[in-house]
């Protein structure tokens, strides 16, 4: 009888010791395990080009960080999910990254509608997200304290454009925007700017994200007698609009907003139809020395070329770099890769990315503020098949 008792206790003891050592072992493994950063981008679907360029930029940031010894002495690893340019997929990608991969922070999700769809998941599980591209104002106004945006909302872009409105000699403007939170927000913001300047607005037209034929909208815009067209969508659709505008002989100054226009790709794919168009961009890879940190910008452009990445992707790619270094910096400041600690540390991040200084200020309803950085904004023009600073923006 006694012997049996002894055996039972021994067995339990052995099991306990085993489990304990496994737990400790896991802990040790965890300390040496890489810092995993979640990334949600549109890698397929109508806006896939942009998402893939951001992935390439994020990979440069990861490799540069790891070359310098990683973060907290651990390697940085990216867990990349495809949101298929679809808001529903963005939400499930966020859930997968949080629940299955247990990432301490996410970068994403490119489009405003995709970001907005993922946001409730962040609040539900308490994981911060650095928003690298989305421009809709509502993202930082909804009172989601897990959102930190490094891209400019449309209002900020409009403020950035304000000094140029007179120089562009805008008399009356029309709008053509993708029918998403981004497009609708952009028409609102730039419309307000024009109203403030006392300028009339003609047509405000929309197109579905997957639409390829915009002739109806262009025909309508032709009749308003405006002289400027603000165009807000991704580069694929901009290409189509420019081609179709040329087919219909629409004579307008065209200004694209949102920074996803990739002028170099437009020159390649739209050819003569892109001539003379203006583009608001947040990175000028054609003249990196004019960026706030010229050395970093130059190094990024060189590394991009060295990897054989297409040059036209740089205007998106830098966002991936800046987003990842922001998260890595926050993990470093926090001293651990715990979601809540990283969130708190994001408020203390102060660094210079390819775009310029990144530092978050409070935005949105009191007590539940989101973070919003103040990025640099530039305007360029396509002239003689090349990207140039517009006459008026030159010093």
């Amino acid at each position: 009888m006694r012997k049996r008792w002894f055996l039972s206790i021994l067995t339990v003891g052995v099991i306990a010791a085993f489990v304990g050592s496994v737990v400790i072992g896991l802990d040790v493994a965890r300390a040496q395990a890489p810092v995993r950063i979640g990334v949600i981008e549109p890698l397929s679907g109508p806006v896939a080009a942009s998402g893939n360029y951001i992935r390439m930029g994020a990979e440069i940031a990861r490799d540069w960080l790891n070359a310098k010894g990683g973060v907290l002495g651990r390697k940085v690893e990216l867990v990349i999910e495809d949101n298929k340019s679809d808001p529903k997929e963005a939400a499930s990608a966020a859930e997968k990254l949080i629940v299955r991969d247990k990432v301490p922070a996410i970068m994403g999700a490119w489009g405003s509608s995709m970001t907005l769809a993922a946001m409730p998941k962040l609040e539900e599980y308490g994981v911060p997200m650095v928003v690298e591209t989305s421009s809709a104002a509502s993202i930082t106004k909804r009172g989601n304290p897990w959102i930190f945006r490094i891209s400019p909302p449309s209002e900020m872009e409009a403020v950035g454009l304000e000094p140029y409105v007179d120089k562009l000699a805008i008399k009356k403007a029309d709008f053509l925007a993708v029918n998403t939170d981004w497009g609708r927000g952009s028409i609102q913001a730039f419309g307000d700017l024009l109203k403030k300047k006392g300028l009339p607005v003609g047509a405000a037209e929309f197109m579905e994200q997957s639409a390829t034929d915009m002739n109806a909208q262009i025909t309508k815009i032709k009749t308003t007698g405006g002289d400027t067209l603000f165009l807000t969508t991704a580069v694929e659709q901009i290409t189509l609009v420019l081609k179709q505008a040329q087919e219909q002989r629409l004579s307008r100054k065209i200004v694209t907003t949102g920074g996803s226009s990739s002028p170099t790709q437009l020159i390649k794919q739209a050819g003569a139809a892109a001539e003379g168009t203006y583009h608001i961009v947040f990175f000028m890879p054609w003249f990196p020395e004019s960026m706030p940190d010229g050395k970093l910008a130059k190094a990024f452009v060189d590394e991009w070329a060295k990897r054989g990445n297409p040059f036209e992707g740089l205007t998106e790619g830098f966002r991936g770099h800046d987003g990842i270094v922001t998260i890595a910096e926050a993990v470093k400041v926090a001293g651990k890769d715990d979601p809540k600690a990283v969130r708190d540390a994001l408020w203390r991040v102060n660094l210079t990315g390819v775009n310029g200084p990144i530092h978050f200020e409070k935005d949105g309803p009191a007590g539940k503020e989101s973070g919003q950085s103040k990025p640099s904004i530039f305007i360029v023009q396509i002239r003689d098949g090349k990207v140039a600073l517009p006459e008026f923006a030159r010093k």
Binding site: N52, F206, T212, D213, N215, A216, T219, K220, E247, R249
Partner: protein, 290 residues
């Protein structure tokens, strides 16, 4: 007035390609009773085949279009032979599920081969538009409209004037009787599926250069094709032609005069109205074939 004319011209060009998609599907869906969710993927296949022929094989533009159509015919025939033929006695739902599988497999295959970044397909036409009064039209679009109408007429003649067409009509009226009369009905099924797929590939090859090619481009095409088939009546080629043109013009006018944000909605409102008032399509015949 100029604006209205321009809208009508735009609508006709767009409608011509909807018609092409619709005819391909009406053969497969209307006559064969196969709910072909993969129809849009044959459209995508046509666009990528053109792209490959032009950029990889350095072929002439028109030869590339021809090759794309052949590609659609062959892949269509293989799909029917391997996947649809063994299921001919199964219920329509089983076949539908298989076609959903084909749709997913083909779309992801395209993604794997070509990547998610859109491809611009080169073409030899001038980009300077032709203008007449206030209406302008790119030469490429004019070519697309003419080619689409040519293919539609070709399909019509094939079905109503050839031996193969007569055998097809006989098979879909009464397969057993046709078989007794010596029609090799299994071959007819394969041929019909191949022709329908070939027409979808032709639409993709024609529209690829007008727009851009990307793996999910077929989704919208499928949606429009089903709309056109419902509008025109199942299995009705003339109906699909008119249905396509009606849908194209309606969307165009809706976007132009109502709201561009509801462009696709306009098309579907018409379809709902047709289903309510004339449930078997705008041009339903007294008796349905099949």
């Amino acid at each position: 007035m100029d604006q209205l004319l321009q809208h009508l011209v735009n609508g006709l060009v767009l409608g011509g390609t909807y018609a092409l998609l619709g005819i391909g599907l009406t053969l497969i869906f209307g006559l064969m009773n196969v709910v072909n969710f993969a129809h849009g993927e044959f459209y995508t296949l046509g666009a990528y085949a053109t792209f490959a022929a032009l950029t990889l094989a350095d072929l002439n533009f028109f030869a590339a279009l021809g090759l794309a159509i052949v590609c659609g015919l062959v892949v269509g025939a293989v799909t029917e032979f391997v996947l649809v033929r063994p299921l001919r006695r199964e219920s329509i739902d089983t076949v539908m599920l298989v076609m959903i599988g084909v749709w997913i497999a083909m779309q992801n295959g395209e993604l794997l081969v070509w990547g998610g970044v859109a491809k611009s397909i080169p073409h030899p036409f001038s980009t300077t538009p032709l203008t007449l009064g206030g209406v302008s039209l790119a030469p490429l679009r004019l070519f697309v409209l003419v080619a689409a109408l040519g293919l539609i007429v070709g399909a019509h003649l094939l079905i109503h004037r050839t031996r193969l067409g007569r055998a097809m009509r006989a098979t879909f009226q009464d397969a057993d009787t046709a078989a007794l009369m010596g029609v090799r009905i299994r071959r007819i099924y394969t041929a019909t599926f191949a022709i329908g797929s070939g027409l979808a590939a032709a639409a993709g090859a024609l529209l690829g250069p007008v727009f851009i090619a990307y793996p999910s481009m077929g989704d919208l095409a499928s949606l429009k094709a089903f709309s056109v088939v419902i509008l025109g009546g199942l299995g009705n080629i003339a109906g699909a032609t008119v249905g396509g043109l009606v849908l194209g013009v309606a969307e165009e006018l809706g976007a132009g005069y109502v709201s561009s944000g509801y462009r696709d909605a306009v098309g579907f409102v018409i379809i709902i109205a047709v289903l309510l008032l004339r449930p078997s399509g705008l041009f339903a015949r007294a008796e349905r074939v099949g």
